[in-house]
């Protein structure tokens, strides 16, 4: 299983029946494919709907239905559509139970950087900053290290922040880390790793509880 699918599968375990969830582009969106049978989460898309369904067939694809990544979507029975102003009242107003977003870096204070690399990559924040400020629970999905092997779980973010102190849970290909008032608590590690491996691969200090579970996906 590749790292991205591993992360997506683990994130899907966070979902509970009836939760309103907004998924960012990439790994977060992929996590929807792994929601356990019988767990009905209500997917919100910030471009204007609640009740996102699976991808359509070519025949069912509709030019007026796409997600925030531009991909064609279907709507489940009981879905609702609305304009952006209402969509962000839902998001900012605290009516989204959880958002799952990708990140460039996260840190010990629950800070997150995911919208720009100065002078290099400037996509913009899109709806991300509002989701970070408004969602009740923020889950970050990212690979533990960047392509140079550098830890993305930092003592302090180096890149421009997207939000301060909002991250609740960090899910990577190596570990599940909870953000607490005391700092980052290592909750689970990938099957092939030891706690020492994860600590070594992490720039931030990790609090090690009595038991650290193994991720099962």
């Amino acid at each position: 299983m590749d790292a991205r699918e591993f992360i997506a599968r683990r994130i899907a375990q966070e979902f509970r029946c009836g939760m309103v969830v907004n998924l960012g582009i990439g790994i977060p969106t992929a996590s929807a494919n792994h929601v356990p049978h019988g767990v009905d989460v209500i997917l919100q898309s910030e471009n204007g709907c609640l009740g996102l369904g699976p991808r359509p067939s070519r025949a069912a694809a509709d030019p007026d239905l796409a997600n925030a990544g531009g991909e064609p979507i279907t709507l489940l029975p009981g879905a609702a559509t609305f304009d952006l102003a209402t969509s962000f009242c839902i998001i900012r107003g605290g009516h989204v139970d959880a958002t799952v977003l990708g990140a460039l870096e996260v840190d010990s204070q629950g800070n997150i950087a995911n919208w720009k690399i100065p002078g290099k990559r400037v996509p913009g924040m899109g709806g991300g900053m509002d989701l970070l400020a408004g969602a009740r629970k923020v889950i970050v999905a990212l690979q533990h290290a960047d392509k140079d092997g550098d830890s993305k779980i930092r003592k302090h973010c180096r890149l421009p922040l997207s939000a301060v102190g909002v991250v609740d849970l960090i899910v990577t290909d190596k570990a599940v880390i909870e953000v607490t008032a005391e700092g980052l608590v290592l909750r689970e590690i990938a099957p092939e790793l030891t706690v020492a491996d994860v600590v070594a691969a992490t720039d931030a200090d990790l609090i090690l509880p009595a038991t650290v579970a193994t991720i099962h996906v």
């Binding site: 007026d64 796409a66 990544g69 531009g70 952006l84 900012r92 990559r121 913009g124 900053m129 509002d130």
Partner: protein, 238 residues
Amino acid sequence: MTEIIDAEQAVRNIREGMTVMIGGFLGVGEPLLLIDELVAGGVGKLSLIAVVGSYPGGGFGVGKLSRNRQIARLVTSHIGTDPELVRQYLAGDLEVEFNPMGTFIERIRCGGGGLGGVLTRTGFGTEVAAGRARIEVEGEEFLLYTPLKADVALIKAHRGDRLGNLEYRGIALNSNPAMAMAAAYVVAEVDEIVDVGVIAPRHVGTPHIFVDALVRGRDHQERKLEFTDLWVDSGRLQ
């Protein structure tokens, strides 16, 4: 009074340097025919207000304007899907004002609705808060964003009646209803034009009083073919 005109006439009022809002989100709900005419006309130095950039990869919908270098200034939440916008921005040829998406749409709603601005928590502790007024309300601080208005808004709806009432479809409404209220001159591109009374009062998404001109765009079936090609070609539909 709403006039029913063709796309070429509809964009004739747009002149160099004007502020233009364009509705839609990554192609969906964008007035594609009006954008084509705006590109054909070639009017430059536009100050564009659009929630995001082109459909991923560039060159589609509003992406045609960046490719044709008609934009001098852009108010948006995201340009990452349009390589041309990113290139022009990094080269310093394009000024971009980034707004969190919820703030972006609320600023337009304030512009249209006569409110003085948006007070939001979003962006606190980030560089978008730098130099921005902070207003304390009941012991908590909020960032103040000013309203947005435009000279012209080009929007897209599913159907329009002959009075100019608009009905939206699917999630294609997105930024269109807010922009309809916030511009001095509003052109709506629609899939079909129907008789007055066909759109029930409670299904009117934008009342006709906001619509200055109605333009018949491609119909729903033509758009389905266009988007199917787009999605299949970009690997987003099997």
